[in-house]
């Protein structure tokens, strides 16, 4: 416990020591090697002791011929043999641009307004090890083109291959930037294993389509590939832990690799054999055309489709013009260009469509369309032509009518295939006067004037009303009234019988009234004998007349001697018999 307390006190008093140590600031420059090659990166460390911060970043001298990448800053506190010191370390990675002997440093650091300088070192840069004899190194990059002798606007493959035997990451690529070079990456980079000079490598291959738009000897400057290299060291896990306690966050060593420059010889497109209308398409192309339907009626529509597909400068495929066709109206559709890519370069298809609407029947030849291009493989110009298409047109509905009219006598047959023309107005004037006296009447005008108007308007109504009134008057004569009564007699009787209660006297009276109405009588009283006699006179069946006689007798008996059957039964019997009487009398 007694030993522990001083240690704790030392840690507590550490800032005081730090302040004290700041008075003794030293700057040290360290290079991890003093001899290197163009393809290597040198770690440069600037150790500032006696202060944990500087006023400004260190000023680096002698690095004009190097690519400098900042590797980060770290502070440190050290207790060595009881002596406490603090400091800050600046790490840089420098990669030589050229060979030679270079003086690195001194490095100037400003602390609290005072400038402190480091010592200098001499770094010797030699050429990178060439593949072919010795080890090319753990990581290198190569560029190649599919052909060095090409034509203007010819598409060539520019391939970059990164060989590596160590872990690399954070790759970035810088392609040569010249206005007459046009790169387009083809697909995603490929990764595969390969052997180079007897050594196994992982290879990252990136392909580009390269088009050069300038003739002459072209020097393609190197491409640059930046990356971070994580090379496993030989230190123990214990050392690794203290040097890099968070291995997952280690940034590794940055590295920039460059390819060798490439020289191309670019020819201009030959003048000999250049077709008229050549639009500068270079590559390999095919052209197809279809006409559907090829047989149709006048006024219907056919579609001519032309497709140009191939590899090369597909963006320069022109929009073809279909010449005018007699008696066929043409409507062009918007051309569609679809571009794509494969491992060999840029490919594309341009589709052009026209709607053809023939106006009259006949056979029409669709004029051929042509497209010329230069093929670098054969080093010749080629002209593509569409095959001849024939459009067979049958007479349409409208044309049939015209044909019928033309066949009529007195009309001139213009012949098949003759163009219709817009009728030209040659003069203007009014049409002549009417001379036919038959047309001089104004039809029906007399109806709309004076008393005729009212007669025509209300005459039919009046006629109807007069007829209706006369019918009413006719119905009031004794004969019509008697007929009417006779017709309604049964329904009147039936209505009276429905009255409740109905006595036998009422039934006899109702039947008496029925007979009066039905037969045009005016009896005051009715006996059974009277009823049978009257019915017999009216042509009613004798049996029915007898039954009615019997029924009336029963009614009379019931009325004067006592009730023998109920009221409903009596009414029912009466109506049944009257119904038979009606049938006999009708």
């Amino acid at each position: 416990m007694r030993k522990t307390i001083p240690v704790i006190l030392c840690f507590l008093l550490l800032p005081l020591f730090t302040v004290w140590a700041a008075d003794d600031v030293t700057v040290t420059l360290r290079l991890d090697r003093l001899e290197t090659s163009l393809s290597d990166t040198v770690r440069m460390e600037i150790r500032v002791s006696g202060s944990r911060k500087s006023d400004d970043p260190p000023v680096l001298e002698g690095l004009a011929s190097f690519l400098v990448t900042n590797g980060g800053t770290s502070s440190r506190v050290e207790i060595i043999n009881g002596k406490v010191s603090s400091g800050v370390d600046y790490t840089y990675f420098i990669q030589p641009k050229k060979t030679g002997t270079f003086k690195i440093g001194p490095i100037r650091v400003t602390v609290d307004g005072k400038i402190f300088e480091s010592e200098s070192h001499t770094l010797v840069v030699r050429k990178a090890t060439q593949p072919g004899g010795s080890d090319p190194g753990p990581v290198f990059v190569q560029a190649s083109v599919s052909s060095r002798d090409i034509y203007v606007d010819e598409q060539v493959l520019y391939t970059l291959k990164l060989y590596y035997r160590v872990n690399v990451g954070n790759l970035s690529l810088g392609l040569p930037e010249m206005e007459y070079l046009h790169f387009q990456q083809l697909g995603r980079p490929l990764e595969y294993s390969s052997t180079y000079e007897g050594l196994a490598y992982q290879v990252l291959e990136i392909r580009h389509a390269l088009v050069v738009s300038k003739k002459g000897d072209i020097h393609i400057t190197p491409s640059r590939m930046k990356m971070t290299v994580r090379q496993p060291g030989s230190r123990s896990r214990f050392d690794n832990f203290f040097n890099d306690p968070f291995p997952g966050f280690s940034s590794g060593r940055p590295l920039t690799l460059t390819t060798d420059p490439i020289d191309l010889h670019v020819h201009a497109l030959p003048e000999d054999g250049r077709p008229a209308g050549f639009t500068g398409i270079v590559g390999s192309f095919q052209m197809t055309s279809t006409l559907a339907p090829s047989r149709l009626k006048a006024g219907d529509s056919a579609t001519l489709t032309i497709q140009v597909k191939g590899r090369g400068t597909v963006n320069r495929i022109p929009d073809l013009d279909l010449p005018e066709m007699d008696s066929v109206r043409t409507y062009s559709d918007q051309p569609v260009l679809e571009t794509g890519q494969d491992r060999q370069g840029i490919v594309g298809t341009k589709t052009m469509k026209w709607a053809l609407v023939p106006e009259i029947a006949g056979e029409y030849k669709v004029p051929p369309l042509s497209l010329s291009f230069f093929d670098p493989e054969t080093k010749q110009y080629h002209v593509l032509n569409t095959p001849p298409h024939v459009l067979s047109v049958l007479p349409g509905e409208a044309e049939k009518r015209i044909a019928v009219l033309n066949s009529l006598p007195g009309t001139s047959n213009t012949g098949e295939g003759t163009l219709k023309k817009e009728i030209q107005q040659l003069g203007e004037d009014i049409l002549p006067i009417h001379t036919d006296a038959v047309d001089l009447t104004v039809p029906f005008r007399s109806l709309a004037k004076g008393w005729v108007f009212w007669l025509a308007l209300v005459g039919p109504l009046c006629m109807y009303l007069i007829l209706l009134a006369s019918l009413r008057v006719q119905r009031l004569t004794p004969e019509r009234l008697a007929q009417s009564k006779a017709k309604k007699a049964f329904s009147v009787l039936r209505r009276r019988c429905k009255k409740d209660p109905m006595g036998y006297a009422d039934l006899i009276t109702a039947f008496k009234d029925y007979l009066n109405d039905r037969c045009g009588l005016s009896m005051g009283t009715l006996t059974a004998d009277d009823a049978e006699r009257i019915l017999g006179d009216q042509g009613v069946n004798a049996e029915t007349a007898k039954k009615m006689h019997s029924l009336v007798e029963q009614f009379e008996t019931a009325l004067y001697a006592g009730n023998t059957f109920n009221d409903a039964e009596a009414v029912g019997k009466l109506l049944d018999l009257v119904k038979r009487i009606e049938k006999d009398m009708s």
């Binding site: 203007e428 006067i433 009447t441 029906f444 007399s446 039919p460």
Partner: protein, 259 residues
Amino acid sequence: MIRQVRLISIGMLVFICFLDMAQANTGPSFVERFFEANQAYKNHQYQQAADGYIHLIENGYENGPVYFNLGNAYFRLGDLGRAVLSYERARLLIPRDGDLAFNLSHARNQTQDTSSDPQMSSFSDFLGLGSLNRYEVFFGFVLLNALFFTLLCIRLYKKTEWTYYLSIFLAIVIGIGGCAWALKWVAWAGDNRAVVLSEEVVVQSGPDSRDTVLFKLHAGTVVRVERTENDWTLLQLSKDKRGWAESNQLERIIKRTDL
């Protein structure tokens, strides 16, 4: 009785036709005058022809062909305003005449003003009746009316199922026909169009020659008349083109005496 009804119905139709035939029998003097005017027109004596047609119209022989011929005569005389007026009047009587439509269109094209043509009420085109004159529409209505009541008369004596349904159908048709005729009549009676007769008419802001001049109209332009005060007429060409002009410089298409 049915025989009586039939006789009455036939009698009415014969009466209507007789009236029409009576009107058609215009007499030799009318036909002679008509042919004389036509002959004058053919001899390029247009003023004489116009006088002949006007004489016929003033004597009651007012019909479409006479107005049409009068329009032609005026057109040949260079009186575009009266030509358009005559054609418009002819159109009220012979609306389906193709020659008339052509000549009216041609005459309108000759006018200087590009105003839109004020048409009669759109109701007049109800059921496509724009191609019929008002007399024809009225005759159609009268015929339907007569048929309907004849059918009702028949039903007084014989009530059959087919007469029942036919009478309902005719009642519906007669309702539609009545509406059409009424609309046609209202459109005709409310037609307040007039034609500019003078070569140039000054339209002013008020019925006074000292009022501000708003715009000028030219012969043949058809305008709408809103009202008349003394010798001035308030006319309207469109919503923003209205003003007063002297009444003697334009003439209504429908004569007020016809109403």
